[in-house]
Amino acid sequence: MSTLRVIIAEDNYLVREGVRRLLDDGEDVEVVADAASAPELILRVREHRPDAVLTDIRMPPDQGMDGIEAAVHLRQELRSIGVVVLSQHADAAYARALFRHGTTGLAYLLKERVGDRDELVRALSTVASGGSVVDPRIVDALLSAQQHRVSSPLQSLTPREHDVLREMAAGRTNPAIARELLVSESAVSKHISSIFAKLQLVEDPSVDRRVRAVLAYVTGATPDQPSTP
């Protein structure tokens, strides 16, 4: 496996150093630079052309959604770079803002995942190859936000179909969903067909494109064109 070249953006020195040391502690990742603000991140990326970026959501100058704006900007400027956004917020609105132009090459993880190196590295290599990752907590938030709306087709889903949809959006394959929910694989396939029919989505056997379709649905983004990474 080739080494993943990564840039970290985080304004808190302690967290930045902690994450840098954690990621550097292995042959599979090389942290080529770090940045303490959104504008600095964009400069460093242009300079080093990394495979993926790991950025905090809340950074100078605005201390609001600078990380998201930087991620969207980077994806538009340099299509080959994947961006993992780390957030303290378990709110649907931030994920919706991040995925507003599509989900390709983007990930939204809760910040406490910095305690899990394997998961961070998995997310970084997924986005580097054009995939998407969403924290299961955020998928829950997105589904719930949809569900509380006055008229949402999600309300027509059965509780079981909801469980399947959540697992699907988190990027699980059919066998993995079957194991997680303790049902047969054929039952999962049936649920998935029913979900796609109710939400009027085009069914797709590829897990990654399926994730994108579901995310596009729950975030209200326009679905990505199938990309060629």
């Binding site: 649907a92 406490e112 305690g115 569900q147 509380h148 709306r149």
Partner: protein
């Protein structure tokens, strides 16, 4: 009795009451309209005096006569405004604003129509003062007729004002009726005296008693209004003091609760992790496998602490509120609530209001939901957000058993204070067949 002197007394009454009302509550529209009425009445009276010279009219004499009517009708329109907004300066019901605006326009347009269209001009509606109009344009005779008819309808304007007052009285809450009672009685007295004068002048008896009485009542009427306006401003000041005290107490309570959550929660969790890391350090020497287990515990505790802190921050002021607006913040909040709560915020999704307005709207919605779930467990609760750049409206309705007796409950009183402090309105209604609706209207730029 000298009628001229008799006119001066009511004029003084209007001017003095208007000035006093403006001094008390300069931003109250009722006070402004009262002063306006006084000023226009005096100006009209002076204008009338100047235009009463007999003999053929010059152009400037004609303009003076018309000006008299403009000023007098303007004063009547102001009186209608006073009676529509008394005592707090709000047009109630809202359509009275349009009525006042129409009268204000007519006060200018009708005499202007006379100036160009009427063959003869009068002073104060007295036919004996008729003089040929030097500015008349024959082609506009019909315009002049309409103008004259409107000017001649002067008494009807006052009747309209009193009628509005009566309508408001009939359609008001008990508290508002109490406020409107005095001016309504005054208006009734004035009407009765006016009828007495008309009747006695037709019957040619006892005019000399009715007229001074009428003038006295006319002079006292604005004083009655002034009394109501000043009582209203005193009441407002008392309400403000009380609500400020309640807001301060609520803030203090909130601070204490945050302090408790931080001290008893997060700080204690950090202490526990401190001793666990110390333990892991010691275990590392003699049993690395055990140290591994302890460190896993530390990691779990850190995750729990982060989660607690996130909940705590959301309770203080959710970051999503500032970052994405009130609709998004509300949806996030709902994620932690039962399925029976639904939100209709599509109309508010792309609008942003000043931060304080959004925070107030958000807390009204959250508290409204909490209240509904508390008093109507299992009820369906629906939150609706809408508005435009000038206001944010939040509605929370449920299909519970109704909360009549709770409309003064502390939860809702806190919300009312919060909405009041932004100059908004807060209402609680029973809805048919069952349920309760609370509605908060938060106007932009009306902070008290």
């Amino acid at each position: 009795m000298d009628l001229e002197a008799g006119v001066v007394v009511p004029l003084l009454g209007w001017i003095a009451s208007g000035l006093a009302a403006m001094a008390l509550t300069p931003r109250n529209r009722t006070a402004q309209a009262l002063l306006m009425a006084g000023v226009l009445l005096v100006a009209s009276w002076l204008c009338e005096g100047a235009s009463s010279v007999s003999g053929s009219l010059t152009a400037s004499g004609a303009v003076l006569r018309v000006m008299t009517d403009v000023l007098f009708l303007g004063a009547l329109a102001s009186v209608v405004a006073v009676l529509s907004t008394y005592p707090d300066g709000r047009f109630d019901p809202p359509w009275t604003r349009s009525v006042t605006q129409v009268l204000g326009s007519l006060a200018f347009l009708a005499p202007a129509a006379q100036l160009v269209g009427s063959r003869e001009l009068l002073v104060g509606g007295d036919p004996t003062t008729a003089e040929p109009n030097p500015l008349v344009v024959d082609a506009l005779a019909q315009v002049g007729t309409v103008g004259s008819a409107i000017v001649a309808s002067e008494p009807a304007w006052l009747v309209l004002g009193f009628g509005i007052l009566g309508w408001r009285f009939a359609h008001s809450s008990d508290a508002r009726r109490h406020e409107l009672l005095l001016p309504l009685a005054g208006a009734g007295l004035l009407t009765a005296l006016l009828i007495a004068i008309v009747v006695s002048s037709v019957a040619e008896t006892a005019v000399d008693i009715s007229v001074p009485l009428f003038l006295l009542a006319l002079a006292l009427f604005p004083v009655v209004l002034l009394f109501g306006i000043s009582r209203q401003s005193r009441q407002l000041a008392e309400d403000l003091t009380a609500s400020r005290a309640r807001l301060a107490a609520a803030e203090d309570k909130a601070r204490r609760s945050i302090e408790r959550d931080l001290h008893d929660g997060v700080q204690q969790q950090l202490m526990a992790m401190l001793s666990l890391t110390e333990l892991a350090d010691r275990q590392l020497q003699r049993d690395p496998a055990l140290a591994h287990v302890t460190l896993a515990q530390v990691r779990n505790q850190v995750r729990d602490t982060i989660e607690d802190l996130r909940e705590l921050v959301s309770g203080i002021r959710p970051p999503v509120l500032a970052d994405s607006g009130v609709a998004a913040a509300l949806e996030s909040r709902l994620a932690r609530l039962p399925d029976g709560v639904e939100v209709d915020a599509d109309a508010a999704r792309d609008v942003r209001w000043p931060a304080g307005i959004e925070a107030a709207g958000y807390f009204v919605a959250c508290e409204g939901i909490t209240n509904a779930l508390k008093h109507a467990p299992g009820a369906r609760v629906r939150v609706t957000l809408f508005g435009d750049a000038s206001q944010l409206i939040v509605e929370v309705s449920d299909d519970g058993p109704g909360i009549d007796e709770l409309s003064n409950g502390s939860g809702l009183a806190g919300l009312r204070d919060r909405v009041d402090s932004w100059g908004g309105t807060f209402e609680v209604h029973a809805i048919a067949p069952r349920g309760t609706l609370i509605r908060a209207r938060l106007p932009v730029g009306q902070i008290r």
